[in-house]
Symmetry: C2
Subunit: 257 residues, 2 copies
C-alpha cells in the first residue's frame, strides 16, 4: 500500500524542502518507488530535482477537479523518484479553493486515483511555510507527518503551534494522522542554543524525535543549484550520509517492516 | 507623514522577523515613532518583543471591519516602539477574507485611521512566509518593501518570484509600491556560496541592495528567547551594530531627509 507523508512545519526555512528531496532520493536508492509532490508555489523542490517550472504543470488543475493528477507525474534523473512539480500559479489556487464547499479535501480527492493504483511505496508532500489552505489540505491527506525543525528558539516556539494544528486536524477530518517523527536539521553541535533546543525537544517528544540528526553542511545548500539531490551531488558527504541514515530509520519505523 | 514598510519575502526563514523587530527597535532608538504589526500567525515578532499571544488581540477583527485597529495597539518595553500583536487565529482569517469582495484591501482599510492620525514615522509590517491573502494585503498597503534575503541559492531563486509579484501588485492596485531595499542576512563571508549570491544580487539590483549586511550571529537568534530586540539584549554585539547601521542607511534614503 502507498503511504502519504507530509513534510510540514509552518515555520519558514527549517529544511522542509531539503528533507523532502533528499529523503525521497534516499528512499529511491533503497529501491522504494517514491512520488514527491511540490505543494509550495516557490517550487523549490521542483528545481532541486532539476525540473523546470512550467505553466499548467502543477497540481492546481487536479485540485479543482479539472484534470487527473496521474497525467501530471514527471520522472526525474533519479531512478524510482517521480515528481508532480509546482509553479507560481499554485498560489492563486488558495482563493479558488477557499470558495469551494469541501475546500479542505481537494488534495485528498485529487490524489485518490494515484493512491488506489498503489504503484508508489511513498508519496512525500513538500509543504509551503504557512497555515493556509494548501498546507491544511496536506494535513487532511497525509497518513503521517515528518516535522523538520531547526535547533533555534523561534523554531521551538513553532513546534507547539504545529502540534495544536495536528490535534485540530485529527479532530476535524483526519483522525488517523500520526507524527512519523521530528528531525533536527542544520544542526551545529558547537552552539549552546542548539544543544538546549535539542534537549528540550527530546524531553517533550522522546522517541518521536528521530535519532538521525542532519548536520549543517554547505554542500546541502549547494546541491539545489545543480538540480540534484545530495546523494548524487556529493555522494560521500556528511549530508548524503545523514539522509541515508534518516531513510533507513524511517523504514525501520514502519509497522511490520 | 507615516510611511508603511513591509518586511516581505515569501521564502521562509530568511530573517524577516529578525529584521522587522531589530530595525524597528533601532529606528525607535533614533527617536522615530514606530508601530510594528505582526501579520504572521506564528507570532514570532510578538514574542520577540516580549509580548504574550492573546486570543482576540491580533489585527483579525480590524481586517473584518469589526473593530478599530487603534484599540489593538500595545506598548512594548522599548520606548517609542508599539506593536499590534498576532495570534494563531489570524490563520483563520484568510478563508474569511477570501470570501469578501474587496479581499485585497482589508488591511489598507483597517490601517487608514492609524495612518491618517499621523502619530508614527514608520509602520513596519512583519509578513508571513507565503503568497497568501495576508501577504498580498501587506503589499497592497505598503508604500515600500524591504526584502531580507539569505545568501543561499534557493533564496536567490525566490527573489525573482518576489519581483514578479511586486510588478503584479503595482499593476493591479498599488502603483506606488517601491522597493526600499534588499538586505543580506545571516551573512557568512567565509563561504563561496555566500559571496557568489551577494555578487549576483549586486549585479541585478545595484543600489537597491543595502550596503549594510547583517552577519550571522548567534546572539541574534538568542535574543527572541529573552523577548528583547538585540539593541537591548546585547547592546555592543555585531548584530546590534549592524541593525543600527541599517536604520541609519534607511533613514538616509528617505527623500528630503
Ligand atoms: N543541513 C543543512 N545545512 C546547510 N544548509 C541547509 C541545510 N538544510 C537546508 N539548508 C539550506 O537552508 C535554507 C532553508 O532550507 P529549505 O529551503 O529546505 O527550508 P524550507 O523549510 O523548505 O523553507 P521554506 O519554509 O521557504 O519552504 C536553504 O537555502 C537550504 O539550502
Ligand atoms: N543574522 C542572524 N544570525 C543568526 N541567526 C539569525 C539571524 N537572523 C535570523 N536568525 C535566526 O534564523 C531563524 C530565521 O529567522 P526569522 O525567523 O527572523 O526569519 P523569517 O524570515 O521571519 O522566518 P519565517 O519565514 O518563518 O517568518 C530564526 O531562528 C532566527 O533567530
Ligand atoms: Mg520549502
Ligand atoms: Mg517571520
Amino acid at each position: 500500500s502507498t503511504k502519504v507523508i507530509a513534510l510540514a512545519n509552518q515555520k519558514g526555512g527549517v529544511g522542509k524542502t531539503t528533507t523532502a528531496v533528499n529523503l525521497a532520493a534516499s528512499l529511491a536508492e533503497r529501491r522504494k518507488n517514491v512520488l514527491l509532490i511540490d505543494l509550495d508555489p516557490q517550487a523549490n523542490a521542483t528545481s532541486s530535482v532539476g525540473l523546470e517550472k512550467e505553466d499548467g504543470a502543477s497540481i492546481y488543475a487536479a485540485l479543482l477537479g479539472e484534470t487527473d493528477a496521474r497525467t501530471l507525474i514527471k520522472p526525474t534523473a533519479t531512478k524510482r523518484l517521480h515528481v508532480i512539480p509546482s509553479e507560481l500559479d499554485l498560489a492563486g489556487c488558495e482563493v479558488a479553493i477557499a470558495r469551494m464547499d469541501n475546500y479542505l479535501h481537494c488534495l485528498k480527492n485529487a490524489l485518490r486515483p494515484i493512491v488506489e493504483q498503489d504503484e508508489y511505496d511513498f508519496i512525500l508532500l513538500d509543504c509551503p511555510p504557512s497555515l493556509g489552505i494548501l498546507f491544511m489540505n496536506a494535513l487532511y491527506t497525509a497518513d503521517s507527518i515528518v516535522i523538520p525543525i531547526q535547533a533555534e528558539y523561534l523554531a521551538l516556539e513553532g513546534l507547539s503551534v504545529m502540534l495544536r494544528i495536528i490535534e485540530q486536524v485529527r479532530a476535524a477530518g483526519n483522525p488517523g494522522l500520526q507524527i512519523e517523527g521530528i528531525v533536527l536539521t542544520m544542526y551545529d553541535s558547537r552552539t549552546n542554543l542548539a544543544q538546549q533546543v535539542a534537549a528540550e525537544v527530546h524531553k517533550h517528544f522522546g522517541d518521536r524525535l528521530f535519532k538521525t540528526v542532519i548536520p549543517r553542511s554547505i554542500r546541502l545548500s549547494e546541491a539545489p543549484s545543480h538540480g540534484k539531490p545530495i546523494t548524487e551531488y556529493d555522494v560521500q558527504s556528511k549530508g548524503a550520509e545523514a539522509y541515508r541514515l534518516l531513510a533507513k530509520e524511517l523504514l525501520g519505523r514502519q509497522t511490520g517492516s
